[in-house]
Symmetry: C2
Subunit: 212 residues, 2 copies
């Protein structure tokens, strides 16, 4: 042991973010109940006691992790909600590529898995995710689709279901990755899935005259 090396640093400002980041990794791997606070603390490079300087309870840490994953995505929702005048095809292509990229490069998939798995035990978290993310995103897409229907661009049909059809393959591909790739499943390429899906769907969605 180097006697001169300090046992720890005092870095109050950075700790919460480091703990949340470590917790995300552990929660995503183990789920809420099976995640040990000692593991989270060790991965964050602090003792368990330090975690309790910044968070009240384990649930509190979980809330912070799940909540943090919403914020950057509300922006996307807003971008989608922004009344897009042009042809729906452009909007869908743009949005889907963007979302696919986000989901590929962030741990959002792991958070999604956690929310699905723990929704029963944490209704409050399920509610936040639904109200601030799921409901918003579905609603915004539905509005855009209804506008396109009003313009005579899109066939009649339930706009909320159209929105579901649009996003579903991406979500399933992500859950497939999180759930089955670790046990040897052949991966889906998210970009490829969305590209092919938009092409197929547009063909069935647009009125004959509106095909690009």
């Amino acid at each position: 042991m180097d006697a001169g090396a300090p046992k720890f640093r005092r870095r109050k400002a950075d700790r919460p973010a480091e703990i949340v980041s470590a917790a995300l990794a552990v929660f995503a791997e183990k789920g809420f109940a099976a995640a040990k606070l000692d593991d989270i603390a060790r991965r964050a490079g602090v003792s368990k006691g330090a975690v309790y300087l910044y968070f009240e309870t384990k649930e509190d840490v979980f809330r912070a992790v799940v909540g943090q994953a919403i914020a950057p995505n509300v922006a996307i929702v807003k971008a989608m909600a922004a009344a897009h005048p042009g042809p729906l095809a452009d909007l869908l292509r743009g949005v889907s590529a963007h979302v696919a990229r986000i989901v590929s490069m962030t741990p959002l998939g792991g958070v999604l898995k956690m929310v699905v798995g723990e929704a029963g035990n944490f209704p409050e978290i399920a509610r936040v995710w639904h109200d601030e993310l799921v409901s918003q995103a579905l609603g915004a897409m539905a509005v855009a689709i209804e506008a396109a229907q009003a313009r005579g661009e899109v066939k009649p049909g339930d706009s909320r279901i159209y929105a579901l059809q649009l996003i579903a393959p991406l979500l399933v591909a992500v859950l497939h990755r999180e759930t089955f790739e670790p046990v040897g499943a052949t991966p889906f390429d998210l970009q490829a899935v969305m590209a092919q899906h938009i092409d197929t769907l547009l063909c069935g969605l647009l009125m004959e005259g509106a095909r690009t």
Copy 2:
């Protein structure tokens, strides 16, 4: 208390099924870790000790629950795999309606939620689900789609992704039901989702000449 009433019945043959059924309900509600064996036993109308007469461990009970949900569905997979000569549209409509009905009326959705949530902690279960259900179903659909492509009935494209596109809205609708309906989300009607989805998708999937 009725002194004449027996404290319990000896019904060795029926117990395992009753315990698995009770366990399904508790696991689906709480997840694996948060489910208490005392709760499962109480719901099954027996003591905890009785559970251990029929199952080695809690994991064993979980395996039984998840495995049981596969068996009836492998039949569906086989039915789909059975070389269907006719137009793809008929096959898809039939299969999707069937699957939607099954998922509506059985606790398969709850099991799906459990598998997603606990896959990290039980790779073996994730593997069984993947190898016996997910991989089989995707493969069978892909084969049917490739056959239709060879007949010149379906447009070129990745058949495995086509299969994913086909089933994804149903899965997402089910997870939406399991995860967000308890906190006030507007439900999706599974039959309606599949009906509209197949209509939309077929339009983008089929060659111009093959439209029914």
